[in-house]
């Protein structure tokens, strides 16, 4: 008997719709822009600056007796082009400020603000926050703003995303790579499949990342699919096909070979040892920081090794490079101890 046909809105679409509505509710007005008087703006004394030129320098003119006169004059000269463009068409990208008493403190857009003063403007377009935001909030705002711009490459979006994720992870006291697709989806207001794609691409190997960076892989879905292919050969096929313009569907059919191959390889007998005789042990690689942590903690738990702990107290556990370095150091130290 034929099964009764059920028409349904797909799970992905349902999630997308629900999350869009909830993001719209949660972030209403977050990116609003208003014109504020330049005279009411000030720098945030707590924020490090690249420039030493101040607002007053531009209002009052540079003082020849200022010990920084030369440097300030140079800085001022670098603002001329921007200032001319602001004279002609205003600021394209609004600056970001937060309310501080009756003043507005600058979070982002120092050069734009200085150039606006130089252009003789009295107002500047700004996004206004009620309080000083945390790092995470700033990256989120940048993300929301950037998604709006279509000319951003996949690579640029990923760089943005990395910032958000590390800010979020730091905020929650968790590791960078433990942020789940659900967290990410909520954070960005995007659908779960979309968030999963982002995470897949963030975890891609260096080769895939290089192709994204050089804009050879441009599409998130395709890059995500390729990132999850295990077999090197099939991955290369998929990459070649993708660059040659294959559709997502075509790539999916290539990637299913990966699954088939995986199944068959597990049934093959273990290959016999051939070639050179092994003279060293490869400790392997892992993306999972908690595994590394477990190994290091266990080693350091050894009664003869507790004195090494001090080398790890300052380690940045969100940064693969530092962990790699620290682990290599540990291995070396261990080798020396054994030799002694």
């Amino acid at each position: 008997m034929a099964k009764k046909k059920v028409f349904q809105i797909s799970n992905a679409l349902t999630e997308g719709l629900e999350e869009t509505v909830s993001a719209a509710h949660n972030y209403t007005g977050e990116l609003r822009v208003e014109a504020i008087p330049l005279r009411k703006m000030e720098l945030d004394p707590e924020n490090p600056r690249d420039l030493i030129l101040t607002f007053e320098d531009l209002y009052n003119g540079l003082d020849k007796d200022d010990k920084n006169y030369l440097r300030k004059a140079e800085e001022k000269a670098t603002l001329i082009t921007l200032s001319n463009s602001i004279k002609e068409q205003g600021i394209i990208n609004p600056v970001l400020v937060y309310k501080h008493g009756d003043k507005y403190r600058l979070i982002a857009g120092e050069r734009r603000t200085l150039a606006s003063i130089l252009a003789g403007k009295s107002e500047v377009q700004a996004k206004i926050l009620d309080t000083k935001p945390e790092e995470l909030k700033i990256s989120l705002l940048q993300w929301m703003e950037n998604v709006e711009r279509r000319d951003l490459s996949l690579w640029e979006r990923l760089k943005n995303l990395e910032k958000i994720l590390s800010a979020f992870a730091a905020d929650k006291g968790m590791e960078f790579n433990r942020v789940s697709p659900t967290d990410l989806g909520r954070l960005l207001g995007c659908s779960l499949p979309h968030a999963m794609n982002f995470i897949a691409v963030l975890n891609a190997d260096d080769k895939v990342k290089a192709l994204i960076q050089s804009n050879k892989l441009k599409n998130l879905e395709k890059a995500a699919l390729i990132s999850t292919i295990k077999s090197d050969g099939i991955k290369q096929n998929a990459i070649d096909a993708c660059i040659a313009g294959a559709t997502l569907k075509k790539l999916k059919s290539i990637s299913t070979q990966d699954k088939i191959q995986k199944q068959t390889t597990t049934q093959l007998p273990a290959p016999s040892t051939r070639g050179r005789q092994a003279t060293l042990v490869n400790l392997g690689t892992t993306k999972k920081i908690h595994v590394v942590r477990l190994i290091i903690d266990s080693v350091l738990g050894h009664e003869k090794l507790t004195h090494l702990k001090k080398h790890f107290t300052d380690l940045n556990w969100a940064d693969y490079k530092s962990i790699n370095h620290a682990f290599k150091q540990l291995l070396k130290t261990l080798e020396q101890i054994e030799a002694e």
Binding site: F7, I9, T14, E18, V21, G29, L31, R32
Partner: protein, 289 residues
Amino acid sequence: MTKIIVNATHKGGEGKTTNSIMLAEYSALVKGLKTLIIDMDPQANLSGRYIEMEYDPAYRGGKIPAMHPDFEVGVDSGWDGRSSIANIFYGEEVIPYPTAISNLELLPAHSHKLQEAEAVTKNEVLEKVHLQLKRFLELPDVRNSYDVIIIDTPPSKGPLTIAAIKAASHIVIPAQMEQFSIEGVYGMLQLWKQESYYRTKENQINLIGILPNQVRDIKLHKQFLNGLKMMKGVSDYVMPRVIKKRAIYTEILVEDANPKSIFDLPKNNVARLEYESACEYIMEKVYHG
């Protein structure tokens, strides 16, 4: 405050144009409000309902509005006698056309000029296209002339639709209860979301909701409608009214239709009752939240 209602979805044939017409005529005829209807779609279907559209001699297949009835040769120097909403993108004057329906005026489409605006990709120019309709509708002259402005959009998520959404106070998404239509709804919800990020509390963009259109008494439609009503958050935006599939909604759209408007039909006509109830719901939301 003038209310600006946009009908949008990037899927074609969902009922944007039909719903724009019905809402505008309800507002003008039934409510007696001073109403302006704007055709932002290069297809110019809506314009053809109210005024004569001519084929553009310069661009094959394109349409341009007929001469404006107020145009006088010799008197109006510097004006070629035609006017369309696309003029706002060219820094040209915009002069609404009267229609056969009292209280209702039209700003028609101009296929080629609108297509050009829709095709803009350069960032600085794009920015201008996005904001131009909003700037125009914020002019005191425009605000003071109309209580309600209804905007019909092309089936896209491009610059013209974005411009309409940036100008809007309210959005209606007409949609059939079918797979691709729901994807169109998704696209529009995203534009609404993006836009709401930029609005202040006082100047919000209000999503009135999804209006199920061309609904038939079949399983597919029921299941999709129920699916939407089950979704968290989304269910608040599924209008508790539906428009059924009826031939009369198509027949009444031609320029020389008789009667002129669905709201000229007898008060107990089912089609009139059905659309009137949907329009009533929408206007109630617009005026009383």
